[in-house]
């Protein structure tokens, strides 16, 4: 990144505890306008909780989330809330659970503008639905079909169209391809990239492994047990990982070449306790690693 674009989202010391479960335990990061920040970590590390806290599905335990300069969990007028709903949207993981089986594709996509009363007549509504369907690579005529008539990939496209319906600037994509066939994953990732280019979208792209994330992310945050252990540009994370957990995740990616794949060894991750004095260290400009001074120094040498 040469010129620093504006921050669209700032997360400061976000905590989300469910009783004794510390799903997210004090994470901080920024998202810049127009970029894709990949949020990666194994299942259960708190990625969805992070996304859902940012989009106000959960009341947060502690911390601050600032979106377009405003504290999103602060008091809001009905008008501000409506604007927030339009500006930030989410794409969900499960293409089956994320579409109401009693609704047609058209009804699902138009739910947002039905709620916000964003059309003048039936014709305009139908036109909007058609345009959205086409923008995600589906057919206009599919508007009257029920969710169960579509394949997993097509259903995910409907979910994307729904997220686009209110013309947001920021989209949280919570493992949007994890439940899809590998052959379809790339198509959906390409669609997301194309939409980003066309509409100037900013993404928080959540994934449980690093393999697909590198193709879509500008920067990557690696999450483990409710904490961000490493954050940097996608290239840095790939080529110069510092935290042993990141190295372990990288070693788990299968290689497209059979010769190197045969010799690929998975580096197991051995957890080292971090003391209370652990903090975020900037090892390169824009590349942060979480640990104690001594740990980071030692990891960095490797």
């Amino acid at each position: 990144m040469n010129k620093m674009p504006e921050k669209i989202l700032e997360v400061k010391n976000l905590k989300q505890h469910f009783g004794s479960i510390k799903a997210v335990d004090g994470i901080s990061f920024d998202v810049y306008e127009g970029e894709t920040l990949g949020l990666v970590g194994e299942s259960g590390c708190g990625k969805s909780t992070t996304g859902r806290s940012i989009i106000r599905l959960y009341d947060i335990t502690d911390g601050e989330i600032i979106f377009q300069g405003k504290d999103i969990h602060g008091k809001k007028s009905a008008k501000e809330l409506k604007q927030f709903n339009k500006d930030m949207q989410m794409i969900f993981q499960d293409p089956y659970a994320s579409l109401n089986p009693r609704m047609t594709a058209g009804e699902i996509i138009s739910e947002g503008f039905d709620i916000h009363g964003m059309y003048k007549n039936k014709k305009e509504r139908k036109e909007k639905i058609g345009t959205l369907l086409e923008s995600v690579g589906l057919n206009r005529e599919h508007a009257n079909r029920y969710a169960h008539e579509f394949s997993g990939g097509q259903r995910q496209r409907i979910g994307i169209a729904r997220a686009l319906s209110l013309d947001p600037s920021f989209i949280i994509a919570d493992e949007p391809i994890s439940a899809l066939d590998v052959s379809i994953q790339a198509q959906v990732v390409n669609l997301l990239r194309q939409l980003q280019k066309e509409r100037g979208l900013t993404y928080l792209f959540i994934a449980h492994d690093l393999s697909m994330v590198k193709y879509i992310s500008d920067r990557i945050a690696v999450m483990r047990r409710g904490q961000i252990v490493e954050l940097g540009t996608a290239d840095d994370i790939y080529n110069y990982p510092v935290h042993p957990y990141t190295k372990s995740l990288l070693s788990a990616i299968p290689l497209p070449d059979p010769i190197s794949e045969a010799t690929r060894t998975r580096i197991p991750y051995e957890h080292e306790e971090v003391g209370d004095d652990a903090k975020s260290h900037e090892v390169f400009p824009g590349h942060f690693v979480y640990g104690t001074d001594a740990q980071v120094k030692q990891w960095y040498k490797h």
Binding site: R52, F92, R102, E111, R162, V188
Partner: protein, 311 residues
Amino acid sequence: MTQSNENLPKISKDKFTVVGGKHDQTDQLAAKSVSFWKEVRLRFMHNKLAIVGFFILIIVALMAIFVPWLSPYSYREQLGVYNAPPSASHWFGTDDLGRDIFVRAWMGARISLFIGITAAVIDLIIGVAWGSIAGLVGGRVDDIMMRIADVLTAVPYLLVVIILLVVLQPGLLPMIIALSITGWVNMARIVRGEVLSIKSREYVLAARTLGANTTHIIMKHLVPNALGAILVTMTLTIPSAIFTESFLSYLGLGVPQPMASWGTMASDGNNALDTAPWRLIFPAILISVTIFAFNAVGDGLRDALDPKLRK
């Protein structure tokens, strides 16, 4: 650890052939769009037992409507032939007061079905309200509401019935109260379970991120998705209410003479089992067949609605 593709041997593109792949952007949907309820109906119609049950219910309903209306006898008319066996003029025979059992049986069908359906509707109203509030509000409200339901089902049922018998005259009202006093708890539990599961589905989360309020979520998401389970529960409540009505009639809580329900007729007939068995047999058959039919329809509906069978 660095893994880049640069040190891989270059393989030219023409060594690859496309062997076909899944293309996702297709128009390959079935020719006709099938709504959820249409599909349920199709699946239901493939279930033979359910269809048999369905037609039995229609026949029972038609008989209950038309027989008392068209019959030459009235259900309370004493014809002077006592305990007569079934014959051409009295298809089901007569009872000890000389009343035609055929017309009484279908008059009884009206009462039994009325009691069953009323009990189911009361269960529906209380159970749906109770269960959906508990599920939606959650937390302590949910705890308290469900504990109240638990306590109600823990009170010995016969005790409640006997108290009702002492306080009220036997008749329709105490019968329906007796059936409803704990009957709704089952419906409330089922609705609560549905609400809890549906409200955390991703499509409800999506609606919330789009700015939907609670009314929208209830009307567009909760109701349409919980309707199936509610319908099945209701269909299965009716036969159990009809059965309990018969059982309570044996305890003397049945509708008073000369009115008849299947339960009171069977309980009367029980006393004359060796001399006039038809007085017990016909109402007993009607009770069993109707309960079977409702259960078959209810099970058929449940199978037709089960999303696990959906492709």
